[in-house]
């Protein structure tokens, strides 16, 4: 009987093993992006921008051209790269510490200018690389190393809902939120990433896919419990959904 490979590592990923902790969903999202790039046949024309944070070494894992931006500045760098090379597909890969704290100005203005770039936004409600401190996206009451009694919104304010915020900008074409907790939600996230890249290829404007992710290590949970925590707690505060899909993007489907 003939045996065929039905699932294997995509070409747009290198063979390098990642430095991510066991069960961290960064690896899942890397793979989804790579699968979409393979599927669209755009590996030779795609440029990724890596952030500062846990994904700082993403350039070792994507088998394509990747630039490294200063903390939070990936959308600014993507703007420049895309404007001088409009035939390229340019995406940023950013965590919440990078995008929703130090990089808030860059992301809001890139979206508002309608830059024809794509942002994959990893929201895991914590600063991962630096040791699990409170991020702007940390949930009310969530215990982190810098909020040992839980985030007190009277002192630390409220978590930022990035997809909802970016969806209010006129330049945004496609803004959605997904999670990667089960094969089915992972498939839905992949579809969204594909549509975001397609929107860019059709020159429709700014696209952002926010992905609720897990950080088992800094949450103090095992990988399975961490995914349950995403579904029960994160998805409650950050509802999944399509926050802005312009008609031209809808017709891409």
């Amino acid at each position: 009987m003939e045996r065929k490979v039905v699932f294997a590592k995509p070409e747009a990923l290198t063979d390098a093993p990642t430095h991510y902790c066991p069960g961290c969903t960064h690896g899942v999202v890397h793979r989804l992006i790579a699968e979409v790039i393979d599927k669209l046949g755009i590996r030779e024309i795609t440029i990724g921008i890596a952030p500062v944070g846990c994904a700082v070494l993403a350039y070792n894992y994507f088998n394509l051209d990747v630039a490294e931006a200063a903390h939070g500045r990936a959308p600014a760098m993507a703007t420049g790269l895309k404007r001088v090379q409009p035939d390229k597909v340019v995406f940023t890969y950013q965590g919440d510490g990078d995008l929703a704290a130090i990089g808030t100005a860059e992301i809001v203005h890139a979206a508002s200018r309608g830059e024809n770039i794509t942002t994959i936004f990893i929201n895991n409600a914590v600063y991962g690389m630096t040791g699990g401190q409170m991020a702007p996206t940390t949930l009310p009451g969530q215990v982190t190393t810098s909020t040992p009694f839980g985030r007190d919104v009277k002192i630390a304010g409220y978590p930022l809902r990035v997809a909802e915020l970016i969806a209010t900008t006129s330049g945004a074409a496609y803004v959605v939120r997904r999670m990667v907790t089960k094969p089915a939600t992972i498939a839905s996230a992949k579809k969204a990433i594909k549509l975001a890249f397609q929107a860019q290829r059709a020159e429709l404007g700014f696209s952002l896919v926010e992905i609720l992710s897990s950080c088992p290590t800094n949450w103090g949970l095992n990988p399975r419990e961490a995914l349950e925590w995403v579904e029960e707690n994160m998805a409650a505060y950050y509802p999944l959904g399509d926050y802005k899909v312009i008609d031209e993007v809808k017709s891409l489907k």
Partner: protein
């Protein structure tokens, strides 16, 4: 039923156990030995050839450690 099998790259595996939670037939388990990184890798235990090659275990793996094969496709 489609027949399939999986190959786990033990040295990529970090023993996170996520693949063991999604197999519809409970065929993926954590092994009793350690890999080069010091993790206990996952392993396929399928004496009756129940694996259908559905790819669910591979799709949840954060480390792309699983390759899935299907017969006669």
């Amino acid at each position: 039923m489609a027949k399939g099998t999986i190959l786990i790259d033990e040295d990529r595996c970090k023993g996170c156990e996520l693949c063991t939670t999604v197999c519809p037939f409970g065929l993926v388990h954590i092994a009793n030995h350690f890999n080069a990184k010091g993790y206990r890798p996952s392993t396929l235990v399928d004496p009756e050839g129940k694996c259908t090659g559905c790819t669910l275990c591979a799709r949840i793996c954060p480390d792309v450690a699983i390759t899935v094969y299907r017969e006669g496709v």
